[in-house]
Symmetry: C2
Amino acid sequence: MILSIDLSSDVPIYQQIRDRIVEAIASGELVEGSPLPSTRQLAADLGVNFHTVNKSYDLLRQEGLVRLNRKSGAVVQRDAGSGPPEAGFTDEWAARLRTLLAEAVAHGVDGSSVLAACGSTLASFAVRTADLTTDQGEPA
Amino acid sequence: MILSIDLSSDVPIYQQIRDRIVEAIASGELVEGSPLPSTRQLAADLGVNFHTVNKSYDLLRQEGLVRLNRKSGAVVQRDAGSGPPEAGFTDEWAARLRTLLAEAVAHGVDGSSVLAACGSTLASFAVRTADLTTDQGEPA
DNA sequence: TATCTGTTCTATAAGTAATAGAGCAGATAG
DNA sequence: CTATCTGCTCTATTACTTATAGAACAGATA
């Protein structure tokens, strides 16, 4: 898995790593069971300290997205097809969504454009998740 | 304007204040020209230091959402009807949208539910912005 | 045995968040 | 003129976060 981070960003490195992995899971690039590189390996590839990667993986474990153990390393525990989210997730997430959408609206982006952006972003995930969601048969 | 913050949240206070004001602008509760309470007044109301509120207002000024000056205090500078966003905003915002939507998808929320959440959130803003977006004639 | 894995400890330097107090410039009200 | 409001700026402190670093342990693997 190739993963790129921006060292000059104001977003913390460990957060960027987490974000890129979450996006890879959403897009189907990573699925349940996919192995992640070891913390030391990924740290070496990115040119950062392994404690930083450790923090990212620990965050993902706390969120229930990955499983960590000594023998198999870091493995993706859930993806788009792993069932509904744990209790409490949706409310907290919806609050953050509200803030983010408000930002666009306040800056003058009209509602239909915002919704279109949401739709095309979701579609960009669905291209790769199509084979997962074919249970009900849901095309992009 | 009544504005509530959560002191036990992991979200910084100054960020919460900014977020609530952005949401108030998006919902039309605050429009271009609306006065914001003074930093000292709002700080007293919320029970926080006025430097913290100062930081929130400064952030909003940097984003171009409010205008600050000694004689008129803090005044909302733009709202949903103030035209398109400044260059660079949309790309950076879209990246954050991608991460947030990916989070929901990775946790198992299906695409249509995510899009529905976006739609209803936007609708909750549109209730108050309706009189602005039907404009040409904007009541004071 | 040697090496890989995650995991846990201490430690440090730099930055952020929130507090606090003092003061200045300009506008406004008495 | 005086008093008080406004945004704004400065120094300072405390606590927490970020990212670095090195060392070591437990267990699995070659």
